[in-house]
Symmetry: C2
Subunit: 226 residues, 2 copies
């Protein structure tokens, strides 16, 4: 028997301490690797792997392969909402716990990821475009909307030269520091080039750091608001 009725399956998933720790660690919106999640949960990598596969088949989390890393993140806002609601209930007669802090200074703020902008400002670029409906996420793809085309053109980027590439113009990219989605693809490259052309930013010698001028950063923040 043991007919698993609706919410019991999900409850059981959340009910294991190791998995609960992993899920709360993912509540930040960051994507984490299996090793990191294992550390968060206080279990070995094998155990973590088992848990993660269960969470993924239940569609609570989402896997993105990048190189030899596997980045896990919550599969959607609704999952986060449920976890938050549960934390609210738990707060009635339980405790919460703190998270660990970040590290690394300038690289976290803005850096090159292959050939596009990553780091906090890269994430901001992506989030801002998404908020103003200039891009749309469709499953794994990222699409430029009509309004987005207008905006991009007005920003001084020639889309026609981008379009002829066979690869998708927009891609979302995930990288360490911020562990959030940011703008990649040919459009991501074009944006970064445009920032160089406008004199907003320039690369720092041998480093991956992208250095924004004070004025450039101000313009950037004004252009890509949240």
């Amino acid at each position: 028997m043991k007919e698993g009725p609706d919410i019991a399956l999900i409850g059981a998933l959340i009910g294991d301490p190791a998995r609960a720790n992993m899920l709360t660690a993912l509540m930040s919106g960051k994507a984490l690797t299996a090793s990191e999640l294992a550390g968060e949960a206080g279990v070995t990598l094998q155990t973590a792997s088992s848990h993660l596969s269960k969470l993924e088949t239940a569609r609570l989390i989402r896997l993105r392969k990048q190189g030899r890393h596997r980045y896990f993140s919550l599969s959607g806002d609704d999952v986060g909402s449920v976890l938050e609601a549960l934390m609210g209930l738990a707060a009635k007669y339980g405790h919460t716990r703190a998270r660990t802090g970040p590290k690394d200074p300038a690289l976290r703020k803005a850096r090159v990821c292959y050939n596009h902008l990553a780091g906090e400002l890269g994430v901001r670029l992506y989030d801002s475009l998404k908020k103003h409906r200039h891009i749309r996420e469709k499953d794994d793809e990222v699409l430029l909307t009509d309004a987005g085309s207008v905006f991009v053109r007005s920003f001084g980027i020639d889309i026609t030269t981008l379009g002829h590439a066979r690869r998708p113009m927009c891609r979302s990219c995930l990288d360490w520091s911020a562990r959030r989605t940011h703008m990649a693809g040919s459009l991501g490259i074009a944006f970064l080039d445009r920032f160089y052309d406008l004199g907003w930013a320039k690369r720092v010698d041998g480093s991956r750091v992208v250095s924004f001028s004070p004025q450039g950063e101000e313009n950037f923040l004004k252009t890509f608001q949240l």
Copy 2:
């Protein structure tokens, strides 16, 4: 070890199929007895009792003794919200299930419970007063607010004659058919008497049924809106 972090405890509680069935059965807002919940969950009474005590110590459900029955209900709206959110998630890749229907015609609608109004209309009276902040629930007590005093007086009930009784003026009462809280106490009695006086309703001979006239019911529904 096995440090139980926040949400895991609640998740584990919801994660057991028997408990999940009980909780979903309570989602209707009705209060159910241990036997009924055992039936819902498909387990014996002993097993159900064990589950119910766990749910109660975790404050997810609330117990009210009434006679030799024990009525369990969700402890609050927040618990219901979490369960609904979980059902939403489960709907992504699961199924839902139907509930059983009611029975009994006129008794369900309006009847006397000791000496006050019960049934659907009794529940409506209570809910309406609560919605318009004429009464307030404080832990196990039900209090008449200042606005409530004004309203009750304007409805033709003399509160001063009620106040001198040592027993609380308002009490919430739980009864079979609707299994929802309704208005009891001396105020509950006064309301029913007033309905009789206004000619809205009258008792039916040997039965517990309270029969509202068409006009009386219309007035009732207009006075006590939701």
